[in-house]
Amino acid sequence: MRRINAFSLTLKQQLAGAAIAAPALAIVTLLFVYPFLRSLQSSFRSQEGVWTLDNYSEALSIYGGDYLYTLWICGVSLVALIIITAIIGGLLRLGVYPLLEFIFKIPLFVPFVVVGHAMRVFLAPHGTLNSALSITGMFNPDILPSFAFSSLGLVAALVWKNLGIGLLLMLGAFRSVNESMLEAARGMGAGKMKLIWHFLVPMNKGSVGVMAVLTFTSMLGSFSIPAMIGNAGGSQMIMMDLYHQIVYQQNYGVANAIGVLTYIASLGAAIYYLKGVTKK
């Protein structure tokens, strides 16, 4: 294969290369870099325009608990998502079930707000789940817990919403594993679960990591679902706090501090993702 040295390109070729990259760079600059820099700057300024760390101390003192709660909810959801997508993706990889594969990818095309509403209906005090349980006669619907307004409901909604993209990434990676490697393991006595946890997942840990990062950051920034369901009366997801600061308090400094703190939470994940992508 002929190697191309950037220094050996003519000026015309270099300009052509820059022109091809320009739209993408412009979008990243306009829609990400510029707003982020503005947000970063604003997070260090008071409403009077004075440089200060007050926004951060206020954000952490008021919303520190919510911040940790958000990380906890996202972490639990992520672990659940990895376990569920690994098992479903593994079983789909080891057999041919096109209909099931289609069904599991449906969440990919359902908007967050619809997921929130669906979960609200499904997990509400007298929602579909509790009604179904009460039909059995074993449960009194009045004493059944309301999952919709608990952390469990939040986790369930976040997992369900991210199931499609998680499965898409996981299954794609699993399908790249050579069949004979799995057959060698089957011949040694490995059943389906062992094939998944001893082979498919560790052999694709890079792809699983990328999936984890993408879904974790998506969960961290989710707003519609926490707005519709969630921990009634207790801690709430950090995006709800950000919304409150902007809409009700109109305190952009604190809102931006929350945004930067959220960004820091996803920064580690983003670095891991970029490392994974560039390695590939």
């Binding site: 004979s180 057959e183 060698a184 011949g187 040694m188 560790p202 052999m203």
Partner: protein, 345 residues
């Protein structure tokens, strides 16, 4: 234990895989399944392994019917063409995985892993730290063989294990695999498209064609007594000539090393009349336990220890090997009758 295959059939939708295979593979021996691409040899092996479910028929490992048993339960281990070593596990973990599933204690597992790796001549000094990709192709295949043998399977299945290796390593590993199989005394089934590999390694050879067993027997039987035209022309470096014999055209299959070329010289006068008659009738004649025909040496190739001649016989070309350097021109081609195989067209 011997393997008994009774009426085994496997199809892929409308595409035929194997049809009505009935064969017995001898206990403790190495059986080679050979045949051209798409003949069903790999389908047969994979059905024996349990990776394919038979549509009809039975497979018995000894007296145990394994037809409907999963690969995990068959006590058969397979060695794959592309090694199929797990890249995320060290060599020790790769080889010890089967024992781990059998819940063999760690110390015992380590001892058995080292023992089997030593038997396949892999240095065991740092197997706990090295990964399969740190080894050469030949070494990887030996590790794969160790992984298969360490679980003490009843049957060892090998799917073209040497086809990814270069010629020298292949030659060495042929002997290596054969001696390991013999020392373990395990019943082995070896799939290959390389007839030389099959003939040189196996105790028993099954030649397959179009999903069926064309012929089976010892390497000598199958090579020296081909019962069908396909067998005769598939094995060895064979040539088919369409010649007139006893008044009708027939196919003569012969092998390069079995024919003798004699240039037409003065001292050949005693045969001149016979040869003339042969040419006149465009027929091949039998003479002193050999088939004799007239040919023309067209080209020769120096092959190192011998010469390879392209000889034209009745407008058809064939190769004949001889260690003498002969001049181009008319010649007499002689083939011992027991080394030439006639088949009706």
């Amino acid at each position: 234990m011997g393997i008994y295959i009774e009426g085994l059939t496997k199809a892929y939708g409308k595409k035929r895989g194997i049809t009505d295979i009935n064969i017995h593979l001898p206990e403790g021996g190495l059986t080679a399944i050979v045949g051209p691409s798409g003949c069903g040899k790999t389908t047969l092996l994979r059905t024996l392994a349990g990776f394919h479910t038979a549509d009809e028929g039975r497979i018995l490992f000894g007296s145990r019917d394994v037809t409907r048993i999963s690969p995990q339960g068959r006590k058969a281990a397979m060695v794959f063409q592309h090694y199929a070593l797990w890249p995320h596990m060290t060599v020790a973990d790769n080889v010890g995985y089967g024992l781990r599933l059998q819940k063999v204690p760690a110390k015992e597992r380590e001892r058995r892993v080292r023992e089997v790796l030593e038997r396949v001549e892999i240095d065991t000094s740092d197997i706990g730290a090295r990964y399969p990709q740190h080894y050469s192709g030949g070494q990887q295949q030996r590790i794969a063989l160790a992984r298969a043998l360490v679980v003490q399977p009843e049957v060892l299945l090998l799917d073209e294990p040497l086809s990814n290796l270069d010629a020298k390593v292949r030659q060495r590993l042929r002997i290596g695999i054969r001696s390991i199989q013999q020392s373990f005394g395990i019943t082995a089934v070896y799939v290959t498209h390389d007839q030389e590999e099959a003939l040189s390694m196996a105790d028993y050879v099954i030649l397959m064609n179009d999903g069926k067993v064309e012929q089976a027997g010892t390497p000598e039987e199958i090579y020296r007594k081909p019962s069908t035209y396909f067998t005769a022309q598939f094995l060895g470096e064979s040539h088919t000539l369409t010649l007139k014999y006893q008044g009708k055209p027939q196919r003569l299959v012969l092998r390069s090393g079995d024919a003798l070329v004699t240039p037409v010289v003065d001292e050949w006068g005693t045969n001149a009349e016979t040869l003339e008659r042969s040419i006149a009738h465009e027929e091949v004649i039998e003479e002193d336990g050999s088939w004799v025909m007239e040919g023309e040496i067209r080209h020769h190739l120096f092959m190192g220890s011998y010469y390879r001649y392209m000889v034209e016989i009745q407008g058809q070309s064939m190769f004949v090997d001889d260690d003498r350097l002969l001049k181009p021109g008319s010649c007499k081609v002689t083939i011992p009758t027991e080394k030439a195989y006639w088949f009706d067209i």
